[in-house]
């Protein structure tokens, strides 16, 4: 690093880019900030898109309104895609043809839905869900008498299924694996989710093999390997996301399942940082394992951390992965990573709500996942997250007993 930061450009106006921009001001930075986003909107929250936000709201839920950017002196360019980074000249090329110079650059380009193999992601009948525009288009098709076929039993597919049922649409969800939520969610919790969907009338088909998807006029035909045929009014593909790394890759930055950053979010160029869904990073709490998260709070935490480090703080990633999902009146929350667990302890919180704690061979708490109605599990998951961050080895029996408050274990 040479001169102190005075011209900061942020590529990607999502949760992470917006948070970084405000955090720069909160940390006292007085130089230029330009936040560049390819979408037509100011930064908005994506989680509502598959939940209550799909319920026909005209505007997305903005991270902040235009006045707040103005008051903070943050220049936001919308409908503007960055097409190239010239690291030698320290400029970015914008889609309107302009070159903008930077002396520190933050890449917060997020991720894009993985398209169904062999299908254009822009078909109007076979869609993905990542943006407000896509949510609005999906919403138009959800009505009684319409059949929505969802491919993929991950969080977005399941949340969309629950929202679609509220609109009275019929829903078939096709999952290729033996159960839904097989990535990162314990089987017991996935079973509660699947059972609730069945009660609500969602037809979940696991081990489904899709032979072909064909658009026929206003309908889509899905042929299954077992000979089954579905005629849907809309297909939404929710089979994961791919980090948006093309820009970084073309600029010669290191890529490793995302834009590769170190524990300070710095890329292989000392003046360029990356944060949020687009980057992979070493996670200190888990032996420096390199991971990439697609999670809302991570986008905020890393946006804030990136802001500090763009200004030269050299702080390291300290937060524990945390994720939530809402389906019907159920909320699921997960803190930490369960890989490497040898012991699981269940804590029952009444009314069917429960938390599973995972401990590693040394007795360290590494993950907690819970499910329940409303916010029944929230407080204990939050405390579990703090136990994980503190590297605690709590007595498993105490974790399982509601007579013992988790707060007490934290102090111990």
């Amino acid at each position: 690093m040479n001169r102190p930061a005075n011209k900061i450009v942020i590529v990607g106006a999502g949760e992470c880019g917006a948070r970084a921009a405000f955090a720069l001001r909160e940390k006292g930075y007085e130089g230029d900030i330009t936040l560049i986003g390819a979408e037509p909107h100011l930064p908005y929250e994506r989680p509502p898109l598959s939940k209550e936000g799909l319920a026909g709201q005209l505007d997305p839920k903005y991270v902040a309104d235009a006045e707040r950017y103005e008051a903070a002196g943050i220049q936001v360019l919308t409908d503007a895609a960055v097409q190239a980074i010239d690291r030698g000249a320290k400029t970015v090329r914008i889609s309107d043809g302009r070159d903008l110079s930077y002396n520190r650059l933050l890449l917060a380009t997020g991720a894009s839905p993985r398209p169904f193999p062999g299908h254009s992601p822009t078909s109007s009948l076979v869609r993905v869900l990542r943006t407000h525009a896509e949510a609005a288009a999906i919403r138009l098709k959800l009505a009684p008498g319409k059949l929505l076929a969802i491919i993929g039993g991950g969080f977005i597919g399941l949340e969309l299924a629950s929202t679609a049922r509220k609109f009275g649409a019929e829903v078939v969800l096709l999952e290729g694996l033996p159960r839904v939520l097989s990535r990162g969610v314990p089987e017991e919790i996935a079973a509660v989710v699947a059972e609730r969907h069945r009660l609500e009338g969602v037809d979940i088909r696991c081990n489904a093999r899709i032979a072909d998807i064909e658009e026929r006029g206003e309908k889509v035909e899905i042929d299954l390997d077992d000979g089954g045929i579905l005629i849907a009014d809309l297909v939404v593909v929710g089979i994961g996301a791919i980090p948006n790394t093309a820009l970084a890759e073309a600029a010669g930055l290191a890529i490793d399942n995302g834009i590769a950053v170190d524990e300070t979010l710095c890329t292989s160029d000392p003046d360029i940082f990356a944060a949020g869904d687009c980057c992979s990073f070493p996670l200190g709490h888990y032996d420096g394992r390199r991971i990439r998260l697609e999670a809302w709070r991570n986008a905020q935490d890393q946006g804030t951390l990136a802001a500090a480090n763009l200004l030269g703080a050299a702080e390291t990633i300290a937060s524990v992965p945390w994720f939530w999902s809402d389906q019907y009146d159920l909320t699921l929350q997960i803190a930490g990573l369960a890989d490497g667990a040898v012991l699981t302890v269940q804590r029952d919180l009444g009314d069917g709500a429960f938390i599973l704690f995972h401990l590693d061979a040394s007795g360290r708490l590494i993950s907690a996942s819970g499910i329940g109605t409303g916010n029944a599990i929230a407080r204990d998951i939050r405390l579990a997250e703090m136990l994980i961050a503190a590297g605690k080895r709590p007595d498993p029996q105490a974790l399982g007993s509601t007579d013992i408050k988790l707060k007490a274990l934290l102090a111990a």
Partner: protein
């Protein structure tokens, strides 16, 4: 003036460094007991998505929303950063004869 004192609960019904929900006359409040054994009250719903704060975690003088971990200082109502940016309204509280009262304004 805080003329209208409403009884919430017995003082020992709220643990130290904890919070309870209190509903009154169609409104909902969160009533806190700090680690220093002082009592406070705020509006009951988070200003981000109208979630009951009483399901959240109290740490020192912070209440953390159970839904997305938005943070407020419950003594002042101040929103402490993303995703919350609108402050909470606070209410006067007193403890008398072992009971907690809040003043509705």
């Amino acid at each position: 003036m805080s003329g209208n004192w409403i009884e919430v609960c017995a003082a020992d019904e709220i643990d130290e460094e904890d919070v309870i929900r209190f509903d009154h006359d169609g409104r909902t409040f969160a009533v806190y007991r700090s680690p220093d054994d002082e009592y406070f009250a705020t509006d009951g719903l988070c200003t981000h998505e109208h979630i009951h704060l009483a399901d959240g975690l109290v740490m020192d003088d912070i209440i953390e929303c159970p839904k997305h971990n938005g943070r407020f200082n419950y003594k002042t109502g101040q929103a402490n950063g993303a995703p919350v940016c609108v402050n909470l309204k606070t209410y006067p509280v007193k403890v008398e004869a072992g009971s907690v009262f809040i003043a509705l304004v």
